[in-house]
């Protein structure tokens, strides 16, 4: 199994008022199997667009995505997605949400149940299989979303701010879970986030993107995700280099924000 190749992606489209938007410009990146990439940037930098292209929901105007030697042309179960809250099927109980993928493939019930039971255990929802998803807390719902994605055994997991709507404490717990699942399953993970801290904790590799046009601004290789596998996340945050890197990236993003504001004022 080879990795995920983002090959010189550009994306440009027309607005109804005739103006054109350059959402992404010449984005290239190569991910090896099992790498954990987090993507960070101010709003409008095209990070969600990039994820949608990776998932196959959007087609780039230039370039291509190649996964395992095959070009990506549309959504497929080999690229699983975890969304922000609200993407679960509330008319199904927890178990049926998790085994949705296998069920659609027509997998036998015994096999499905084995997978689901294992995943419920993994994400810490052992006794919650028969519950309705709307009875669960936000954090538990995101555990179900992770399990639902893993049930399909995808090659790549794409996460679109999966922890964005959670409170700080739950969020930290869930960050630990994401790291654990990444290490245990060996999946390639691409995670989009607004939080610099989260990007540092959950990124072996970190991409800082800049807006107008959306492009890769800076790339980091970071040790914190690896540390976090065996260490308490609060310890990781105190560990060497964390605070400095965080400050560096924050001032980078602040710089971009100011530039945007300046451009707007100049235009006005």
């Amino acid at each position: 199994m080879s990795g995920l190749i983002i090959d010189n992606i550009s994306m440009r489209f027309d607005l109804p008022n005739g103006a054109a938007v350059q959402a992404l410009q010449n984005v290239s990146l190569e991910l090896k199997q099992g790498e954990l990439l987090s993507v960070l940037g101010p709003s409008g930098c095209g990070k969600t667009t990039l994820l949608n292209i990776l998932a196959g929901f959007l087609a780039p105007t230039e370039g291509q995505i190649v996964l395992g030697g095959k070009r990506v042309v549309g959504p497929s179960p080999e690229r699983g997605m975890v969304f922000q809250q609200g993407a679960l099927f509330e008319w199904m109980n927890v178990r049926h949400n998790i085994d949705f993928g296998p069920r659609m493939k027509g997998m036998a019930k015994a096999e499905r149940d084995r997978i689901t039971d294992h995943l419920l255990e993994t994400v810490g929802l052992h006794d919650f299989g028969e519950k309705a998803v709307y009875e669960l807390s936000g954090g538990m719902q995101q555990r179900v979303a992770l399990a639902r994605c893993l049930a399909n055994d995808p090659d790549v997991i794409l996460m679109d701010e999966p922890l964005g709507a959670l409170d700080a404490l739950t969020r930290e717990k869930m960050q630990g879970l994401v790291l654990k699942l990444w290490k245990e399953t060996g999946k390639t993970v691409v995670l989009i986030t607004h939080s610099v801290e989260e990007a540092l904790l959950l990124g072996e590799r970190l991409l800082v993107m800049a807006p107008r046009p959306g492009r890769i601004f800076r790339e980091y290789n970071l040790p914190f995700a690896e540390r976090g596998v065996n260490m308490d996340l609060r310890e990781v945050k105190k560990s060497e280099g964390f605070a400095e890197t965080r400050e560096e990236i924050l001032s980078m993003i602040w710089g971009m924000e100011e530039e945007i504001m300046g451009k707007k004022e100049g235009a006005a």
Binding site: G86, A87, W91, F100, A132, C149, N152
Partner: protein
């Protein structure tokens, strides 16, 4: 008068119950709130108020119809022997007095004609009978000799069109010299305007046993319900798939949007004349009308159900490997059910109202036909009974739909 009574009951019961509640004291969370005006969550319907409200409707209804189930009554019509004396003047100028006795009797009771009293001089006494609430034309001077005219009642001089209050009623002198005696009406309503509650219940029992106009009561109500069901089911069978198509395809939406948006604000009642011209007054016409009433509501409900599905749910399903058919079956349809149920509740309500109206226009049986037929014979008790039954059934339909909704789409509003 009725309004004054009603407001009085409202205010008095509110004050009294407020006192009782304040006296008993409460210790729940709401009782600790210092600001409740405008706090929607602090406003719970007071069930005591609901009970008093219903009771007071019956109390007033009973009080103004002389019902036996209510202890208090407003004054009823005069019943018994009424009478007055009149002064007659002969053409030559002589005057004489005589008495008129009028027996005011209740409807359905054989009247006893009072004894004819003696008069004085040439004037002779008279006697008459009249039903309560009614009036009678008296010619007391007919037997008093040629050319005698009435000049006074109870000693009070009277001219043409003058009114004199007498025991048990009023007397008016008509231009042709006769006296019109109107029995005192009191405050109560005549049964022909509003029958007493027990009369309505009695009528209900009678019609429930014997039927009305060759059809049993259940036959009438069943006919209306069957039409509603037929129209609603047909409307759903066409409307829901149409709504899905409009939610899933731009061409369908563009094609049908003008039609749906135009037909939606047209009240179904406005279609009755056209439907009658096209489909006649019998069953087909009614089912077509109800079909049209339900169709647009169900179409719009299904369309908004599909449009309301969160994109992330669809994306999630795709990236979990579901096919289009599977997404329709497992995501789009269940996601639209809450909206469809809401639409179905509205549609059933509209259909029930429309069917009654359509039956008022023309029908051989049905709840609407029953009340319009009864009104032609002034059988007000049947009309009132019909209106109450129509209300109860409409309310019952809504309660059933809500229960079904709770059972079938427990995830409503929790996405």
């Amino acid at each position: 008068m009725v309004l004054v009574f009603y407001v009085a009951i409202f205010v008095v019961s509110m004050l009294v119950w407020g006192r009782i509640k304040a006296h008993r004291g409460r210790h729940d969370f709401t009782s600790l709130k210092t600001v409740t005006f405008g706090d929607e969550s602090a406003i719970q319907p007071d069930r005591v108020a609901s009970v008093i409200s219903i009771l007071s409707v019956f109390l007033i209804w009973g009080a103004f119809t002389g019902s036996s189930i209510v202890p208090l009554h407003v004054p009823g019509p005069f019943v018994g022997e009424a009478g007055f004396t009149y002064t007659a003047r002969a053409p030559e100028g002589a005057e004489a007095e005589a008495e008129v006795r009028v027996m005011v009797h209740e409807a359905g009771v054989a009247p006893v004609t009072p004894e004819v009293p003696e008069g004085s001089g040439f004037a002779k006494g008279d006697a008459a009978v009249v039903q309560a609430w009614r009036s009678v034309l008296l010619r007391p001077v007919e037997n008093d000799g040629e050319g005698a005219v009435v000049v006074a009642i109870n000693g009070q001089p009277i001219a043409v069109d003058d009114r004199v209050e007498v025991t048990g009623g009023t007397v008016t002198l008509t231009p042709r010299g006769a006296l019109n005696f109107q029995a005192a009406k009191g405050w109560q309503m005549e049964p022909i305007w509003l029958p007493a509650p027990e009369a309505v219940v009695a009528r209900f029992v009678e019609i429930a046993t014997n039927g009305y106009q060759n059809t049993s009561l259940w036959g009438h109500l069943g006919a209306s319900l069957a039409r509603v069901m037929a129209g609603f089911v047909l409307g759903s069978i066409v409307g829901i798939p149409l709504g899905y198509a409009m939610g899933l395809s731009g061409w369908f939406r563009g094609w049908f949007d003008p039609i749906v948006e135009f037909m939606r604000p047209v009240p179904p009642l406005a279609l009755i004349p056209l439907v009658i011209i096209w489909f006649g007054i019998w069953e087909t016409g009614k089912v077509v009308l109800l079909f049209l009433a339900a169709l647009w509501i169900m179409t719009i409900a299904a369309r908004s159900g599909v449009s309301g599905v969160k994109l992330s749910k669809i994306h999630a399903a795709y990236s979990l490997g579901a096919s289009k058919a599977q997404i329709l079956r497992h995501v789009i349809i269940p996601n639209s059910l809450p909206d469809i149920f809401t639409g179905a509740r509205v549609a059933m309500g509209v259909c029930w109202g429309t069917v009654v109206a359509a039956e008022l226009v023309a029908a051989q049986k049905g709840a609407g036909m029953m009340i319009i037929a009864a009104s032609k014979f002034q059988l007000t008790d049947i009309v009132v009974m019909g209106i109450i039954l129509i209300g109860i059934i409409g309310y019952g339909i809504d309660i059933l739909m809500r229960m079904a909704e709770k059972r079938l789409v427990p995830w409503k509003g929790r996405g």
